[in-house]
Symmetry: C2
């Protein structure tokens, strides 16, 4: 089954806002077997919206629309839909009660412009928006469904998952779609795909593999699509997901569609392994990624950014002789930083980074993107050099992914800790 | 003048890639007086591309297209454009030479699939891509212009700024557009717009004001659009830009379309003011934003994340009595952290943050989003509490913006340092 997305708002066309909603919607609808045939962004103009809707419905039976539902006069989606469906407004008392409660809880007075949000096109079914003021709307006329949601990302997520997807599953005969995802770090997509050629060729037609790459990380998503009640191949996806892991045993960081930093943080929390970092070229980014998990304070006391050589020596105890002899970007310095900060914070594990993130500072021997990462524990240490590509931001992100990879090696962390 | 954007690629429709190119193109074209009437995303299918192009050209005379120019068989934009324009291929020897040089410089062998990138539709003019392998293409037929570029963001930026915009200015009679931008921090868009009502009402028709909000920051952009050679109102925009600043004298952080953290970093570098941070709830994000400026190492030796109370005491010298009496989220603790880290790193200025970033840890007295920020210098110190909204990531970002604001107050930093 195919659908189209229409996003409404001048801010999308002038480039003031980057549209993240439609990528989210593409993923969510894809996960229930609805593929997006086209996305259209139009301005807050009645004629533009009307023609986009008519064109989409000439091609597909499902249109998902976001934006233009605010209380100000710029937002004309509701009025336009009344015109499209040739209907008037009805006041939705449940929406009004929700608005009154919302304003009361925020200690604010409800204005007449806000009350208007309870007036909806007579032909739509209300999709209750528990996290915002503008409800979603569901139109089902002549076999064609139009869903309209506000443009605020948090409200799109809520309405899509709680209201829209359950109704779509009832309304349309959708295939059963299942996914299994794993995360690889370090190896490039092109090398992985060469290693997986035989595996991919072996996949039956109802299974497919997608590569989702970003900065030294590639997520691999195996998808199974089954029409109707076919259960003959049940179990297939898990069988092939096992084979996928066996085809690249060295490359899998963790199982699941998860940020690998969060996976590692949860593993450290669960196993009560305390950690810290001493970062030079990454400027605190490794620590920042690892401290996002709820409960992290149990294993993370704090960390250091040691940019200046004097700080590396004074705070981390790096022998100035090491820096004089090998330079700050060296294996010896990275190892000394890691063991120094581990003792300083009294933790089980420490990560240190030192390198050239650019844009300046590169030399022939140590060009931009040349980085040492060291991991120190009571039981041993590991230091590796990397040659990473991209701009400053990308080199920092790649370094942080490489650091996660090294911690996995040192801890012999399993790929599925099911925390 | 109006244009449409067509983005090509299955990865956009399934939500694997968030389209940032079209927001960039909307901004760039807007800056030369071309507004985007519609954006359409279609899959890598010939029929989908052909119908999107025909539909766009039925509405406008300029179509900007990105994506589908890679060397693999999925990428069919070139073939489709040959069909649309009813022409064959020509080999572009300059492109071939560029490809050979590029591969040689990377020490890689050029394959036949790469050579194909030098074959272009006979009717297009080549737009030399100095930063990638796929050239841009410019078609000008029957008064209608189509520009095709690869989808890699860095290549889109290069081709747009170096090739496309100069050619558009020659081809079409465009208005002269000028912008003046300033950055405000702290005050909400709705309050600013109320304060600027009189100013906005006073604007002549060729001037307009745009609000570009994000997390406690609002950029205000004043734009002047002039058709043809009209120079009567020259100077107007600067006159009104001055009035804009005078209307909100307390709210302007800096002038220019610049990241305020970068503005502050450049100011610190230029004035040789060394700094550090001691961060609890922001986990290093304030330091991370401030250390992005080239040359920052001259004033930034490093910094601390002090998450655990023991680290606040052991490393920053916060009296445990303060934490026992007032809690770690307190004015006294924030001030002690700031002065402690300033002395530890021997710098001129230190920023400390301590608060509840959430999602857990909130109490009735100190709810999620309650944050203290302290700034310490040799000449004095400042500490303020904030009640910030949003999820964890947003609270951290808002805290960092509030910290920039406080540093400006303490340093009495000018809004236009013209570094």
């Amino acid at each position: 089954m195919q659908a189209e997305i229409i996003t409404i708002g001048d801010e999308l066309l002038i480039g003031q806002t980057i549209d993240t909603n439609s990528a989210y919607l593409g993923q969510q609808l894809g996960s229930i077997g609805i593929s997006i045939a086209r996305k259209t962004a139009v301005s807050d103009k009645e004629s533009a919206i009307l023609s986009a809707v008519a064109e989409s419905f000439s091609r597909v039976d499902l249109v998902i629309m976001t934006g233009g539902l605010g209380p100000t006069k710029d937002d004309i989606t509701k009025k336009t839909l009344c015109q499209y469906y040739q209907c008037g407004y009805r006041r939705d008392e449940a929406v009004l009660a929700h608005l009154e409660a919302l304003f009361a809880s925020r200690g604010r007075l409800m204005l007449e412009t806000n009350q208007v949000q309870a007036d909806l096109p007579a032909l739509c079914e209300t999709l209750h928006n528990a996290v915002g003021t503008a409800p979603g709307m569901w139109f089902d006329q002549a076999g064609k469904v139009l869903v309209s949601m506000p443009g605020v990302p948090g409200e799109v997520y809520h309405l899509t998952e709680e209201r829209v997807i359950p109704k779509l599953k009832v309304k349309f005969p959708l295939p059963t779609v299942e996914h299994r995802t794993l995360v690889t770090l370090q190896k490039a997509e092109s090398l992985l795909s060469r290693q997986l050629e035989t595996f991919e060729a072996s996949l039956p037609p109802h299974l497919s593999l997608a590569y989702l790459p970003s900065f030294n990380m590639v997520k691999l998503r195996l998808s199974q699509v089954q029409q109707g009640d076919a259960v003959a191949s049940e179990g297939d996806i898990d069988l092939y997901f096992d084979r996928l892991q066996q085809a690249i045993p060295e490359d899998v960081f963790c199982l699941g569609d998860i940020d690998p930093a969060l996976y590692l943080s949860n593993y450290l929390i669960k196993n009560q392994i305390s950690f810290t970092t001493a970062e030079s070229c990454t400027g605190g980014w490794v620590a920042h990624r690892l401290m996002q998990a709820p409960g992290i304070s149990a294993v993370y006391p704090g960390s250091m950014v040691a940019y200046a050589n004097e700080i590396k020596s004074a705070e981390l105890g790096v022998d100035p002789e090491i820096i004089a002899t090998h330079g700050a970007v060296s294996e010896a310095c990275a190892l000394a930083m890691a063991s120094g900060v581990r003792r300083k914070f009294g933790v089980d594990l420490a990560i240190a980074t030192t390198g050239v993130a650019g844009p300046g500072g590169g030399t022939k021997e140590k060009p931009v993107g040349f980085v040492y990462i060291a991991v120190s524990t009571q039981n041993g240490e590991l230091c590796k050099s990397f040659r990473l590509f991209g701009n400053r931001e990308q080199i920092i992100q790649r370094t942080s992914n490489a650091a996660l990879w090294m911690v996995k090696q040192v801890l012999k962390m399993p790929t599925d800790s099911a925390a």
